[in-house]
């Protein structure tokens, strides 16, 4: 495949394996840019990129901001607390205002699943979903795939466990879509309230298994993605106590021993140290957590770069 023939990146469900490979290869070229004395290329000179975040985010917003800057785009961060949305403006009116200022790419983070798709259908600009409710977070999955691919050289044939609140996690959903498309097997694990046995039905026929037992999930895996416990949300009602959760589902050095020797440990951040992951594991030799952050900038550069030429024409 020569080019990315789409206007928006809303999910990984509708993205082909070929498109994912194209994005990952492009991201590799941007890893090289990050290693140069001048970490900036003029590829998006004159383009405007807006980060519109309705939910707090440090890492994703910063990563997108840096990615846009390293491509020489003009970039604006809009936090909803400062915007007219607070004054009652509708989302589509807000976006129409940006468009009147010649917006090329709009990056959106919202708690409402599907709102990036609504905007995409009503805007000439390219829309990138930076997380919408419990739906998807495609760039997080791309950076996870890149981290795995850089370590193993391929995704095909790998087995990856995703542990935690799978049901409410957009990261788990996007990761699973990406992994199965590239030929990996997925094991989803968490307490029944967070990882019901029926969740596998989201991917009918795909090599996705569900278990409530961490040891079973980890047995012989090539990598494990530990999801964040979102204590600020209603999750505290989903398990009796954080101590019990930790005892059963936290990744510690002893539990990691069930995985393949040298298995990669990932976490989308920010971590609750001592809760879903022990410091020994997070800072240990198998941790790829900082590598994920580095790859995140490269992946987002690739997404912005390959989408930025596609606005309007296909709209």
């Amino acid at each position: 495949m020569k080019r990315l023939a789409r206007k928006d990146l809303l999910d990984l469900e509708s993205v082909s394996a070929e498109e994912i490979e194209l994005l990952l290869n492009q991201a590799e070229a941007f890893r090289e840019v990050a290693a140069r004395p001048v970490k900036k290329v003029p590829a998006l000179r004159g383009k405007t990129v807006i980060n519109l975040f309705f939910e707090p985010s440090t890492r994703t917003a910063t990563s997108f901001h840096l990615a846009a800057q390293r491509l020489s785009a003009d970039v604006l961060d809009i936090k909803v607390a400062d915007s007219s949305v607070r004054k009652g403006e509708t989302l589509l009116d807000t976006v129409a205002t940006f468009e009147a200022m010649d917006l090329s790419v709009l990056i959106m983070r919202t708690s409402h699943a599907g709102s990036p798709a609504l905007v995409a259908a009503n805007s000439k600009a390219s829309i990138v979903n930076a997380g919408d409710g419990m739906h998807e977070h495609p760039t997080q999955a791309l950076l996870d795939l890149m981290t795995l691919k850089r370590r193993y050289g391929r995704l095909d044939g790998l087995t990856v466990a995703i542990v935690g609140d799978v049901l409410h996690s957009r990261v788990a959903r996007s990761d699973t879509w990406g992994l199965i498309k590239l030929g990996a097997k997925v094991r989803l694990c968490g307490p029944p309230t967070m990882c019901p046995s029926s969740i596998g039905q989201l991917w009918p026929g795909a090599p996705v298994t569900v278990t409530h037992d961490l040891r079973e999930a980890l047995e012989g895996v090539d990598a494990v993605q530990m999801l964040r416990l979102q204590l600020e949300r209603q999750q505290r009602f989903l398990f009796p106590s954080t101590r019990e959760y930790s005892k059963l589902y936290a990744l510690t050095t002893e539990k990691l021993a069930f995985a393949k020797a040298g298995a990669l440990v990932m976490h989308p951040g920010p971590m609750n140290r001592g809760l879903e992951i022990s410091s020994g594991v997070a800072d240990g030799p198998q941790s790829a957590i900082t590598e994920q952050v580095t790859n995140g900038v490269a992946v987002r550069m690739a997404v912005l770069y390959l989408l930025a030429g596609n606005e309007a024409e296909t709209a």
Partner: protein, 187 residues
């Protein structure tokens, strides 16, 4: 790639080989040896040519180690980068410091000069080279920017309707340079 109609074979494999040998000698003569010399090829075929020139220079000088070779993908720096849809770019590889070095940029065909302009900008992002020289296998004229090559394998006046195709055995089936008619310019 639609080939168009073959007009001429500009260089046969042997001609190409001789041209590279002469260019290697010229690079050595101009720079009085290999001290501080590095070659940076513009992807894809410029990189292949840079490797061949480096090997040839090493052979002429009897060096155990060839001069440093790097490669640039200049897609991010093109002045038509905003044109849609965007084309993917490969990674550049400059595994040495260009600071204070004499860098010979290498490309297969010199045409409008826009690729070389982009390559100069890209190269400067790696540091301040002492000087930059340009080596091309074929100079086909029709410049749109004030760019001139220091080392040229073959000069050939062409029209914009023609296409100059350089083939190198590392990436193509054989060595040679051909001119096709009726299929707009490339490189």
């Amino acid at each position: 790639m639609s080939a168009g109609r073959l007009k001429t074979v500009l260089l046969e494999a042997q001609d190409l080989d001789r041209a590279l040998t002469r260019m290697a000698h010229e690079i050595l003569e101009r720079n009085r040896g290999v001290e501080g010399l590095a070659l940076v090829g513009i992807k894809t075929r410029g990189e292949v040519l840079a490797r061949r020139l480096a090997a040839r220079i090493a052979k002429i000088e009897g060096l155990a180690q060839a001069p440093a070779v790097g490669s640039l993908d200049v897609t991010f720096y093109r002045d038509d980068a905003g044109a849609r849809p965007t084309r993917p770019a490969a990674a550049s590889e400059v595994g040495f410091s260009v600071e204070g070095r004499t860098v010979v940029l290498v490309d297969d065909v010199l045409y409008t000069g826009r690729t070389v302009r982009a390559a100069l900008t890209a190269l400067l992002d790696y540091g301040r080279a002492a000087r930059v020289q340009l080596a091309v296998l074929v100079d086909r004229g029709l410049r749109e920017l004030p760019v001139r090559a220091d080392f040229v394998g073959k000069n050939v006046p062409t029209s914009a309707r023609e296409r100059v195709q350089v083939q190198l055995s590392e990436v193509d089936s054989e060595d040679g340079v051909k001119i096709y008619e009726g299929d707009g310019g490339e490189a």
